[in-house]
């Protein structure tokens, strides 16, 4: 890839960095897709472990019924926070909501930069990559000696880990209130419309069970639409000055 040294960071980001991200992301995802089905192809076609076709169709139908809403919406809901590179990595390495999302929040807070800035992108990708390595090491330890770890830890310590995600969310929310050089009050006031919409989406998904799988999409999609109107309003004000 030819990279012009006279480009500004923003230009380099748009002209070289992002196209490179998609080249790597798309290529690795296509290969991963094929690799994922490799063991099945081996057992089915080479070893001859064939279950009836009707069983595959039934399984596929059941999975599609549960997963369809998430398949078409979930990556887009995390993308505004993870960025494209972060989303590619997160959806290959897994644990998107429970691990990559909090990691992104933490690193962005650490450098006080949003994902939409080149600085924020560099920080987020670095943090997510580190989390991938850390997770794989821990997973390997789990697979090898996990049963022993659980047996030596007191039961209440093991149970306390179930609060890990909710405890992270409290600090994540506060982190976001202290970012961008604004006061907590300013950040809180500016984000009330999105929070109100998120709460509305929660109750809507509770009242209409058919929307349960779409809760996150409704919450994020609606918040983005609200953000667009706020942006138009701010733009109008700026142009009037």
């Amino acid at each position: 890839m030819a990279e012009n040294k006279n480009l500004t960071a923003e230009q380099d980001y748009a002209q070289n960095f992002m196209p490179g991200v998609h080249k790597i992301g798309r290529f690795t995802m296509i290969v991963a897709f094929v690799l994922s089905y490799l063991p099945i192809a081996y057992f089915y076609f080479i070893k001859g472990y064939k279950a009836p076709g009707t069983m595959y169709i039934s399984g596929l139908t059941a999975i599609a019924a549960i997963g369809f809403g998430m398949w078409i919406s979930e990556p887009e809901t995390y993308w505004p926070i993870l960025g494209s590179a972060g989303t590619y990595i997160a959806y290959l390495s897994g644990n998107v909501g429970g691990m990559r999302f909090p990691v992104s929040m933490a690193v962005q807070k650490n450098v006080d930069a949003d994902i939409n800035t080149p600085r924020g992108q560099v920080a987020t990708i670095t943090g997510i990559v580190a989390s991938v390595f850390a997770n794989l090491v821990l997973l390997l330890i789990t697979v090898l000696v996990g049963a022993w770890i659980i047996s030596v830890l007191p039961a209440n310590v093991v149970h306390a880990f179930s609060y890990c995600l909710v405890a992270m969310m409290g600090s994540m929310l506060l982190m976001r209130f202290t970012m961008g050089g604004k006061s907590v009050k300013e950040n809180l006031m500016g984000n009330i419309p999105y929070m109100a919409w998120g709460i509305f989406a929660y109750f809507l998904s509770k009242m209409v069970p058919a929307l349960a799988n779409w809760k996150t999409l409704i919450a994020v999609g609606g918040a983005l639409i609200i953000a667009y109107f706020i942006f138009l309003n701010d733009k109008k004000k700026l142009e009037a000055k």
């Binding site: 472990y49 609060y163 984000n191």
Partner: protein, 237 residues
């Protein structure tokens, strides 16, 4: 379970290939990002190291949380499949759910002697297929999204992209967090971790401690976990 054990060695090979691919992807992105950073001096070496520490440290808690579910999955589908599915794409809870759907469809219990090689292959198929569409989504959707953002960025004055991160984050977090207020233990974990975050943030501001800032999320998480557990043990039936 004997079938699972018999297929395990072969599955380790496929698991190894996939895990290596995950590492290759992360390595490629890291190299690409570092080259970009070097050209533009966006983050210092120290800041990069801090990001790595934050990323690794923030992953420990959720990874520990996943251990219990992963162990259940090991009992049902074996070591190699668990490593393959939880290290790539899946989260233990989701994978266990999908394995159960496969077993129910096949009319057997997971991990039972009724599990044949063919049914186990089918269970792996269900686990893979439940996550594979995310790949297709990423391949198709992410580039157009970025192009749209780039187009918006080129417009004059302020850009919509500056509003997107906050909107998505607060919309998502609010829709998720509200559920926790209805359970005493989760509510305690949430409130205490938020208070801890306020305190840690104030100390960081006062002292300028980089180390405390780096591990602030982990510290707050530990306080929240303790609070949740205390309430669970003492105030819940």
């Amino acid at each position: 379970m004997s079938v699972v054990k018999a297929m395990n060695p072969t599955l380790w090979l496929f698991a190894g290939i996939l895990i290596v691919w995950v590492l290759v992807q992360s390595g490629l992105f890291y190299r690409h990002t570092m080259a970009f950073n070097k050209r533009n001096n966006l983050l210092t070496k120290e800041e990069i190291n801090d990001c790595m520490k934050v990323g690794a440290a923030a992953a420990v808690g959720p990874a520990m949380n996943a251990i219990a579910v992963a162990l259940t999955l090991i009992a049902m589908v074996g070591y190699a499949t668990t490593f393959m599915r939880c290290g790539v794409i899946g989260a233990p809870g989701w994978e266990l759910y999908m394995a159960n759907i496969a077993a129910t469809t096949a009319g057997v219990a997971l991990g039972s002697e009724g599990m044949t090689e063919a049914i186990f292959t089918f269970a792996i198929f269900c686990m893979v297929t439940a996550s594979a569409p995310y790949f297709i989504n990423c391949i198709i959707m992410l580039k157009p999204l970025d192009l749209a953002v780039e187009k918006a960025r080129k417009g004059s004055g302020i850009s919509y992209t500056n509003y997107m991160g906050n909107a998505a984050m607060f919309g998502m977090l609010s829709a998720t967090i509200i559920d926790y207020f209805f359970q005493k233990d989760n509510c305690a974990a949430l409130i205490v971790s938020t208070i801890a975050a306020i305190v840690v943030n104030a100390i960081v501001k006062k002292t300028g401690s980089k180390a405390l800032s780096t591990f602030s999320m982990v510290i707050c998480m530990i306080f929240g976990m303790i609070a949740g557990q205390v309430v669970f043990q003492n105030f819940m039936p």
